[in-house]
Symmetry: C2
């Protein structure tokens, strides 16, 4: 389970648990400016019954080139056309590649990721065709797949709106107050309410007709 | 350019340079027991004209599960059937994913990797079908591909025998004495001569009719 500490991956963790999986949570310390999400990821993994939570240090953020890893690039506070500057080059490919390695080490055959491409920022590596292509890689790359234990990459939120994701999570008992979606939270983990991620999240609660439990600055 | 410090990636670097590319070398410090290959990678990158050499720390070796990362698992010194215990789960997927991110940051469109599957250890992530599948991922994952600059993953050794690789490298001026292929070199970087990697390398020089410049223990 890739767990970021945000709303989506918390929902995915609840879904995977509901499916009866023993969940191992994996989070990346990749130089993100919203590093406080690591704390949120720890809370989420614990609250939703993951049997372990691993944080992998992965200094790809040093390369910059994204508002999430380069302090000199401002996080946009208005919608922008195209793929936004918060895109981190190849991030989900790196995350899934590492999850693939850990899954093989653990003897797991199911990898869960909380991408979706309905109410989303337009990142190419959140789309279902990317996930399907990565699954093909997973099944060509690994010893376990060659030996007859194929890997499945699950993206159960792929076709859901943000409101549908939230309704599903609430039905499964997710406490979204412990999650952090904001790209530029303050040191207490409170959300800015203005970045793309905050706007998508707030709109989702509104559309779902569920009170927004987010701690704002 | 993924550069390990071994014979194959040195040859690939020479090939990429011959093609006129400006080469950026990327090496991984992933907890490998043959960590001295990082020194060899630095020498190779310098000798073959890479404009920079980056070493990315990537603690996937902590997960163990391979003779290359777990000191408790012995490196085999005789041929073994099937995929050997030196296989590192998802290693080339992780390496290519990181190379993909760096390529996008650099504005590069060509990624070179020294895999081959003729005289090789049987690792699934060295086969042409894996490379082709990863290229598809690369072109679905990245902003640059979406914006019309597709990524190409080059594996110019894919269909060559070890002897052919060596002949090509010699023709391009590669000094194989500075490379380290051994899985368990001594602290001076001298090869054991017995592991799978040493055996493939030595057989390659023999088949090519070229004196083996390897420093053995």
């Amino acid at each position: 389970m890739l767990v970021s500490g945000g709303l989506d991956s918390a929902t995915v963790l609840a879904i995977a648990r509901e499916c009866g999986h023993t969940c191992h949570a994996l989070t990346f310390d990749y130089g993100q400016r919203h590093r406080i999400e690591l704390e949120a990821a720890r809370r989420v993994a614990k609250a939703l019954g993951a049997v372990e939570h691993r944080v992998l240090a992965m200094p790809i953020g040093e390369w910059g080139h994204s508002a999430l890893t380069d302090p000199a690039i401002a996080v946009p506070e208005e919608p922008t056309p195209g793929i936004p500057v918060t895109y981190v080059p190849a991030r989900n490919t790196v995350f899934l590649a590492c999850a693939l390695g850990l899954a093989e080490v653990l003897g797991a055959e199911d990898i869960y990721i909380g991408v979706n491409s309905v109410d989303y920022s337009g990142y190419p590596d959140c789309r279902p065709e990317f996930i399907r292509a990565f699954e093909q890689v997973a099944n060509l790359a690994t010893k376990s797949a060659i030996e007859g234990r194929p890997m499945r990459i699950h993206a159960p939120l792929a076709e859901l709106s943000k409101a549908e994701i939230i309704r599903k999570g609430i039905a499964l008992g997710v406490d979204y107050a412990i999650t952090v979606s904001c790209y530029q939270p303050d040191p207490a983990g409170r959300a800015c309410g203005r970045c793309d991620s905050c706007r998508l999240r707030r709109a989702g609660f509104n559309a779902a007709g569920i009170p927004d439990p987010t701690h704002y600055q």
